[in-house]
Amino acid sequence: MGSYYDVDDIIAEEEPVSAVFQKPANGVGIDPSAEKNCVDQGSKVELPFWLANELCQRNAVSVLVPPCFDEKTRLEIQADPACVDLRSRSPYFYEFGCKMVPIVADRTLGFLLFSAFRSRYKDVLTKAHTASHVAAPKILSRLTKEEVNLYEAAQSSVAAFKKWRIGGRRFHPASVLGRKRRSEE
């Protein structure tokens, strides 16, 4: 899992999940549809993941599988993994999924994430190595954050190699040398 200061990790935990309250909760305003300042037992509320996770560990809520891992997505991933627009489902599809696995009842979620990544990374690899810069935005718009990182890692190393092969300036002057001295005022 990401480190404490990992921004992506923090944003991934912001994803909303729907949770069903197992116990009534008093004095909290997290359910906007409730008339009173409390949440009844059995009411369904959208919570950010970090809150749902904490409540789930205290057995206060049970978490439903979020819509980005629904049946339709699964079928699309089975049909053609490379073409599924996972970014619109959730930009943190894998990270969020990893966090969801321990708290939802669905046992197939882990396998879904794994098989999706296994069949998608090949496409990321070949496109990163062959696609031109013009085509990049179109490809990137379908990838999740993690896949974009992967794409950029592969792409930048190939670009660096091509640059080296073509040549050009072999020695870069230190940045301080080119600078003009500021005139005294």
Binding site: Y94, C98, V101, P102, R107, T108, L109, G110, F111, L113, F114, F117, R118, Y121, K122, L125, T126, A128, H129, E146, N149, L150, A153, A154, S156, S157, V158, A160, F161, K163, W164, R165, G167, R170, F171, H172
Partner: protein
């Protein structure tokens, strides 16, 4: 050094790899007389006109620039050898032919600085480019065959530059695989947890008995 590497993406830049490759030894034929050089990496020389000597590539290039020697291209850099290697590379799907670890960098340095010393320079150049392309394509296709249980990749006789190009991708991809793979045992082995454990124990015993 020309460009410092970014810590996040790859361990070395192409320029750094080239710098490392400059330590490879190569044969030169000097046309001047000079005393032996005693360097930290070894003693080279004495240099006598028309008598071949082994020197590091950086020294060879420096002498060549001053017109003090001709460089003898290494054995593998001949049209014959390279044609043979190219054919073999094309024939085998998975195997990589053995070439020097720094063949990409050495050929580039020699083409840049000692083009006139390489017989059939044009042919040699296009052959090395072809070999590099074929090999790189093979590397790509072998990277496409990761599956979940991969924790390391083994490809024999890969060169420094080829490794360096795929390193950032492979490192990240394997990391993600490992992360996602760690989810699997919880999920799909739940119903048959018991037999697996028994199996593991049996395996452990077998190993012990074998010893």
């Amino acid at each position: 050094m020309a460009v410092q590497s970014e810590p996040d993406y790859s361990l070395f830049t192409a320029q750094e790899i080239e710098f490392v490759a400059e330590d490879e030894l190569i044969e030169i034929v000097p046309n001047m007389r000079m005393d032996p050089l005693n360097l930290i990496c070894g003693d080279f020389g004495p240099f006598l006109p028309q008598i071949a000597a082994q020197v590091p590539l950086w020294l060879a290039v420096a002498l060549k620039k001053r017109g003090k020697c001709t460089i003898r291209p290494p054995e593998w850099m001949s049209v014959e050898k390279l044609t043979h290697v190219l054919e073999a590379e094309r024939d085998s799907e998975r195997e990589f032919q053995s070439l020097p670890f720094h063949y990409v960098e050495i050929s580039r340095l020699l083409f840049d600085h000692a083009r006139d010393d390489i017989p059939d320079g044009y042919m040699v150049r296009s052959l090395t480019e072809d070999i590099r392309d074929v090999r790189f394509h093979k590397v790509q296709s072998s990277l496409e065959s990761f599956d979940g249980r991969t924790s390391a990749v083994q490809i024999k006789s890969l060169s420094a530059m080829e490794v360096n190009i795929v390193r950032p991708f492979v490192a990240r991809a394997l990391q993600s695989f490992q992360k996602l793979d760690s989810l699997l045992p919880d999920t799909d082995s739940m119903p048959n947890n018991q037999p697996q454990q028994a199996d593991k124990a049996a395996k452990g015993r077998r190993v012990l008995r074998g010893r």
